[in-house]
């Protein structure tokens, strides 16, 4: 995966970058399966590797496939991302060890979730749809808003196009 990311950074051909990011998403999905997060892995494989690759290819179809040379040296963005990564790694060192059953997060609301009072075998579904129904309603609304925004942005452009054709 590291090799993939480095290749994506240095490649100038956007088509190969899109394909590599699809492969990266698939590898990420296998990592998530290894972490027992099958639901997230499914989403990553379908969205990251499938739909978003198609959308990026569709976007590439509309523009040039070779990345332009950057006008400035990327020192400031590089410094920002390196320091953010350093902060995140520093923060991750304070996390409890992976699969530590004694950590605080497993003693707050998790026991109640696992009692399974809604009688749905898949705890992820139970938490998403029932215990945190409001959150999921909000997420669905966000997805809806994204779709509505895309419609609003792109359809106006289409109307302008026809308006120009009519000579307005």
């Amino acid at each position: 995966m590291v090799a993939l990311v480095i290749a994506m950074v240095f490649l100038r051909n956007l088509l190969s970058v899109v394909v590599l990011s699809g492969i990266y998403s698939f590898l990420m999905a296998t990592v998530l399966v290894a972490l027992d997060a099958v639901d997230v892995a499914m989403t990553e494989a379908a969205v990251g590797a499938g739909v978003s690759t198609v959308l990026l290819l569709g976007a590439l179809h509309l523009c040039r496939t070779d990345e332009a040379r950057p006008a400035h040296k990327p020192w400031l963005p590089l410094a920002v991302s390196v320091s953010t990564a350093a902060l995140l790694i520093y923060g991750a060192m304070g996390l409890p060890e992976f699969s530590d059953t004694q950590s605080a997060i497993h003693h707050h609301v998790v026991p109640r979730y696992l009692q399974n009072e809604v009688d749905v075998p898949n705890v992820v579904t139970a938490v998403l749809a029932s215990f945190r129904g409001y959150d999921t309603l909000g997420e669905t609304t966000v997805v809806f808003t994204a779709g509505a925004g895309i419609i609003a942005l792109l359809r106006r452009r289409q109307r302008n196009g026809t308006g120009d054709a009519r000579g307005q």
């Binding site: 499938g50 579904t125 999921t136 359809r155």
Partner: protein, 145 residues
């Protein structure tokens, strides 16, 4: 890609199974991995696959634009409607226990309809974004690359 025999045959073979798998992920989400979001994306991916092989024009005949746009809103409305059904039946907003005389059945019913709402909205948004981007290039969409 419209004239590629291998792709057409494989696509015709595979697309029904992709859609069926999406429905499986949707309705089996209570028991195994999956749920509304995943099912919606997989369903949309199946139709995007169809559009790539048979062309955007044909895909628009199968799943027309007005249908996709109404899917967008219907999903959220179904989700919010489940919440209001809870209020009407005497509970709180998004309270599933009151949806059936047996509280556990009520939970199942609530989760089922909520997942249906999520799947419809997600599928609609994915398809709409794909249609919007694909129709801006050639009529054939990115499949013509």
């Amino acid at each position: 890609m419209v004239n590629d025999l291998v792709l057409r045959v494989v696509g015709k073979l595979l697309i029904p199974f992709i859609l069926l798998f999406a429905l499986y992920v949707q309705f089996h989400g209570d028991f195994g991995p999956g749920g509304g979001f995943q099912a919606g994306v997989i369903f949309a991916a199946g139709i995007v696959f169809y559009a790539l092989i048979f062309g955007l024009v044909n895909a628009r005949k199968v799943v027309p634009d007005w249908f996709v746009e109404s899917m967008l809103a219907c999903g959220v409305l179904i989700y919010a409607g489940v919440g209001f059904a809870g209020i009407v039946l005497g509970g709180n907003y998004l309270d599933y226990f009151v949806l059936d005389s047996d509280p556990l059945h009520g939970q199942h019913r609530g989760i089922f309809w909520v997942e249906v709402g999520v799947a419809i909205t997600v599928c609609g948004v994915m398809l709409k974004i794909f249609y919007m981007f694909a129709s801006r290039g050639h009529a054939d969409g990115p499949g013509g690359v």
